[in-house]
Symmetry: C2
Subunit: 472 residues, 2 copies
């Protein structure tokens, strides 16, 4: 094996350059895992391509050596997506981080896969534009497309898949294809855009993305609304959605999570179930929406409403929401974060959140509940001790029970984090005979199973790695 | 062959019922073609299933006899999608026309594939909801999903693909699968929803659809704005989009087409390039948008603006726009309608429309130009004499030149009508090596090529039927 690795390394270095391929131990360790609790595995080497052609070289060489290829952005995935279970070449897109084009009148941008969302938004701001998708981490856009990421704004603007007009992809064969065009819509051919977004590196490497962007809205209003109970808060959101008010963001944070925010951020928010809301529009329209919203929230027994019209106040409010995961991580040193991610029809959401809280209590686990409630998506942020086998067992049971609760009610096991390794075991339950269709597609496009093997779809080789858990 | 057909017929009748399978000549003639200029071909027989299980019986029997299966809604497709080139069983979904569920709080409906959009909207209205996608014809929802139809509202609400949460599909193997779930979003597994929408019956028969619906907006304002030139009108739309005003509909109708409207509808609209516009919102927001819109339109040299706040006036305005194709058909008895359908980045639209008009003049063809300009999608409505070979040659040349103009500028050969037979010849030019990926998917999911063969993807059998033109 060692000999094969050395040969591979030499060949890649001759195709790229010596500096662009490494087996440096620190680098291997950094690329062995992601932000999740899944146990890391080291790659054979790491390649840092600078061009699409270099990615082609890597894939073709991998094919020759029958080595896996694992595309890597920032390693912020939450289900073990970038862990090279069978070894292989980790392709780090750090050197492909250019914003290639911003075309104002077409509301589109072209970027390399290593560009991060904050990098893009900083540049777009100069044009009065913004990119909507905002997962917790400052992930790369390539990684966000690979997992079909979303975040707080998808209730109005849609998820990552809705923003992708075209991907340049190096397929498992080493061919360069385009999955779409620059047109806003198309009925030509099969919808490869939709198929490749969310494919988690299992069908090819993304080397360029053409994305939809939006004009920054004229007026923005943010609000914090507290409720006596989570179900009151969810009820308020359902009525709000039905009212026709176009909500841009609506996030639920439960009582224990608000306590965690106050502890970590030194804020003094009320420690009650809280909705963080944002509306976009013109000034007059927003004023009318705000009045209507107040009425609706009061009908749902809200305890308080605080509005933020100013940018600074809004930023503080969203910072509190965005930092919640970190508030937990810092609050429980020595423990690791496990995050559930189901999404249900909104009529089932209040029940699902109540069920999750009951399970947390029953299994005596520490955790908060937050949710993109406009989409029916919520997370349990769970702090677990990887060396406490009882706690690990209970955490796994909680995750599983939450997934089965959602699947039994028309939901999905993952709203935005993706399958990776962690959700592979639920694919059959969720998709039934459709899983065989997915397997056929994988088989047709990557018959040698070199593209991020064993993610989403089980390999035919049969190496299984569902339950790998990090042990400190 | 005849013997095989009789056997097939008998077997299908025993599985369904005698009344549900026919070889009646009038019925065969009715199902041989669509609304396009492509030459009809008769199916071997027509089956009218009532349940998903009956569709399974049909597909399995077809597989046994190696007969093609052609799903059929209302036959309103425009590129020969439902023409059974190699004979086969046409599956008419007329008896699967039930609205199964309207779930207000989840903004979703479940329908059988034979439900039409007007049938659904009539029912939704009672709930204060509406379904947004509105192609010219009153097509079935199954057919609209098969071609990824859109229409006048996609600039705000998206195309058919954006409305589909789940499809129940009978695959080429005769297996029942679900391509999605009831959740608003998901990152679980490959995105089969996106792949099957727009697959034009080539990957399976849709037997149930779960669709997204919207609340009817509080206020609606419609307007008719005239301009001295088409490029002024398009310029106005670009600025409008950049202004952040959320346009719900924006349709361009050129001067010759306005003449046709007046002739056919006995209206007296100004015969100038005209934008038909609609904004949705709350009352205050709409009032502010209307003021802003006026300013923008005046900056783009508009000649007149007429607003319609009342439902009756709005209906008349949209009726004029919707009836345009029929205005042409009635205005040129003996001729047939040919419709182009390219879509480009909006920055390229004014040039593309000007190019199309030049081509119409150069080739001495009669036709109007209309467009969903917010999406960059426009149509040339062309009246052609199928017995005039010179005119037919010129029409084909026009269509081709318009397609190549769009493809050279980042566009697509079809924005909303689909590929069928008519746009198959442009698939390689548009998709390049991605076409091979599509072929592999087709091969993997329908190796025997029984599902609507020779549409979108060329069959391996090599029967070609690109240029079949109806002769009267």
């Amino acid at each position: 094996m060692e000999e094969k690795h050395r040969e591979l390394m030499k060949e890649l270095q001759s195709l790229l350059s010596v500096e662009q391929v490494t087996q440096n131990e620190t680098a291997l360790l950094q690329h062995g895992g992601d932000e999740s609790y899944h146990a890391p595995v080291l790659p054979a080497c790491i390649a840092y391509p600078k061009t699409t052609e270099e990615v082609q070289h890597i894939v073709r060489t991998a094919k020759k050596y029958r080595m896996p290829v694992i595309p890597y952005g920032r390693g912020t995935s939450l289900e073990g997506h970038v862990i090279p279970h069978e070894g292989g070449i980790t392709v780090d897109f750090a050197l492909m981080d250019q914003i290639l084009e911003i075309r104002d009148s077409d509301f589109l941008v072209k970027v390399q896969p290593g560009v991060t969302r904050s990098q893009l938004n900083k540049e777009l701001k100069k044009h009065g534009l913004f990119f909507t998708v905002d997962p917790g981490a400052d992930a790369t856009l390539g990684g966000m497309a690979a997992t079909n990421a979303s975040g707080t704004t998808s209730v109005k603007y849609g998820v990552m898949r809705d923003q992708v007009r075209d991907l340049e992809v190096v397929t498992a064969e080493g061919t360069i294809i385009h999955t779409g065009s620059e047109a806003v819509k198309s009925s030509s051919g099969y919808h490869l855009n939709g198929l490749f977004v969310g494919s988690e590196g299992t069908l090819g490497c993304f080397t360029e993305l053409t994305l939809r962007v939006y004009g920054i809205p004229e007026s923005i209003m943010a609000a914090r609304v507290t409720f006596p109970s989570v179900s009151d808060a969810v009820g308020g959101v359902v009525t709000l959605l039905q009212s026709g008010i176009e909500i841009a963001r609506v996030e639920l944070v439960d009582e224990p999570s608000m306590q965690q925010v106050n502890k970590h951020m030194e804020t003094s928010y009320k420690e009650m179930p809280t909705l963080f809301l944002e509306l976009h529009g013109n000034e007059a329209g927003l004023a009318q929406d705000v009045d209507f919203m107040k009425t609706i929230m009061e009908e749902h027994a809200c305890e308080s409403i605080d509005f933020e019209m100013e940018t600074a106040g809004r930023n503080q409010l969203w910072e509190a929401r965005h930092n919640l995961a970190y508030a937990y991580v810092h609050g429980y040193p020595g423990k690791k974060l496990m995050v559930t991610d189901v999404c249900l029809p909104i009529s089932q959401l209040a029940g699902a959140v109540a069920h999750a809280r009951e399970e947390l209590n029953r299994l005596e686990l520490v955790g908060g509940i937050v949710g993109h409630v406009g989409d029916g998506n919520f997370h349990v942020l769970l702090m677990i001790d990887l060396n406490d086998s009882e706690e690990m067992k209970n955490a796994a049971e909680l995750n599983e029970n939450i997934v089965y609760y959602a699947l039994a009610r028309g939901g999905t096991c993952t709203g935005e984090h993706g399958v990776g390794i962690g959700k592979k075991k639920y694919q059959e339950e969720e998709h039934g005979p459709a899983l065989a269709v997915m397997e056929k597609i994988k088989q047709a496009l990557d018959p040698e199973e070199i593209m991020n093997p064993n993610k989403i779809i089980r390999t035919k080789r049969g190496d299984e790695a569902d339950e790998t858990v990090r042990t400190n």
